[in-house]
Symmetry: C2
Subunit: 341 residues, 2 copies
Amino acid sequence: MITLAVDCMGGDHGPSVTLAACRQFLQQHPDARLLLVGQSDSVQALQHERVQHVAASEVVTMDDAVEVALRRKKDSSMRVAIQQVKDGRADVAVSAGNTGALMAIARYLLKTLDGIDRPAIATQMPNAKGGATTVLDLGANVDCTAEHLLQFAVMGSALVSVLQDRDDPRVGLLNIGEEVIKGSETIKKAGQLLRSAANRGDLNFYGNVEGNDIFKGTVDIVVCDGFVGNVALKASEGVASMISGILKQEFSRNILTKLAAIAAYPVLSALMRRVDHRRYNGAALLGLRGLVFKSHGSADALAFEQALTRAYDAARNHLLDRVRTRVAHAAPLLAASEHSS
Amino acid sequence: MITLAVDCMGGDHGPSVTLAACRQFLQQHPDARLLLVGQSDSVQALQHERVQHVAASEVVTMDDAVEVALRRKKDSSMRVAIQQVKDGRADVAVSAGNTGALMAIARYLLKTLDGIDRPAIATQMPNAKGGATTVLDLGANVDCTAEHLLQFAVMGSALVSVLQDRDDPRVGLLNIGEEVIKGSETIKKAGQLLRSAANRGDLNFYGNVEGNDIFKGTVDIVVCDGFVGNVALKASEGVASMISGILKQEFSRNILTKLAAIAAYPVLSALMRRVDHRRYNGAALLGLRGLVFKSHGSADALAFEQALTRAYDAARNHLLDRVRTRVAHAAPLLAASEHSS
């Protein structure tokens, strides 16, 4: 039995989306239990034999400063959900709330693993090979050292080996050229560390990759600092939404193009299915002594259910142990590098 | 009469593309003259009353290290083309060669303007409003200070006011959130500098923008360091090419989808036209005491002609004077900031 603690109040839509997703998720996963965390009148709307309700009187809003969420709202649904993981009552927590607050609370309550300075956020993006590329970090850390990038690579390898059942996933270092000499001093040093880690068998390092490689599917994991990752993710979303906007506009231009839209419908829906960001919803917070997954704030029920499923898969496949083992294996290198820096 | 010095040997395809583009460009621009720079037997293939040939015995290849291009190949077509600008024989130079080499040679020969530490590369990307967003820097500078970002903003404003005839183009600072408190220390300080510059009337600062705003068209100019800009550009190209790949695949799946492709052809070509990166080819190297434009290395004749046209427009509208004037106007702020940092 896998138990998920769900922050039912988080996200742009709150319980109307999260509870609908939970209901669907329970049907699909007969060995899952849910702890629905939130204000009693809201979460009681979903009754199920594998559901338990956990009261939390406060809600972290999307606009709340991290300090407010962390210090003042001590009975928030987000915090109480993570507390369930800390207390061993749940295997993983899932929230669609404010990313900064979620990261801060998770880090405060769960603490980081030995050998990890900073947790990272890892998400998947669709690629041209029909698979997905895992990218980290995505906004948790704006200034990263080479050592942090190495830690991300180790944790990302554990994540992909668990969620995509890849034994030896390939790691690429996001850079502005494939050549070893490219990039800032931090990136060059990260490249050296990743090569050393590969030589020691800690991970499978492909080398430098560029922004387009995320979508080509050149590697399984792309490592970058949170600033760059966030910009790459949002720029990509921007292009995809611009293209879909243009398609809508052009197909509705006149009666002929509208007929063409009907003819092209199967193709367009195949396209939408393949790049539908809802299918990739559910980012892992890695490097903590407990599992936490983050859904997009704007997720609908289908997307939130996807995040639940990903969290469930991670818990069932012992992601935490896998991360811990990989980090421990890389510990001598991590320690040596920290020491020398 | 506007005179362009064209590095005919640069790019993936060399004279077969550059000369074809030049021929077309001459037809469209009766008041333009071209100095065709390159190995004599190659460039002589284009004869025209407004064409003059300038011999250069060497070629900078795409793989040449910057040092090789700069120190050893002193008679390269790239260098000789820029020398024409330096010597006042041409108003602007255009090359599709190796970006790093082009930047290094341009900087070495032309020097930077007073008040500018580092030149930047500025390019346009299509946006959902049907216009284009100018983004800089795109790879010339991997580690930027807040002062550099301010310099980019000032130069980008001059570029857009010249090329798009906008009096007071809006500048956004690329960040991972709209709030002033987001981002690294460098970004926060850049935000402060940009606000001061706006208060002094040096530029029109919108505030922070995110990756997707590039394609939404929220602002006219997006300022970022070269690493982030390069990743954003390439990630965007990656998404666009993944989507076009999926469309091709799905439309060719069976006889029905192939018929649908015929029906949808006008719509698909409208889409392709609107996001065709060839239409946006021609990046400006800003901050030098002379005009240089860079074409994509993989440009075809249409794309290279676009770069020629952009360079021509820049020269005709006195981009260099406009950049110089704007930089001079912002000089007190630039100097004060450098001093305080």
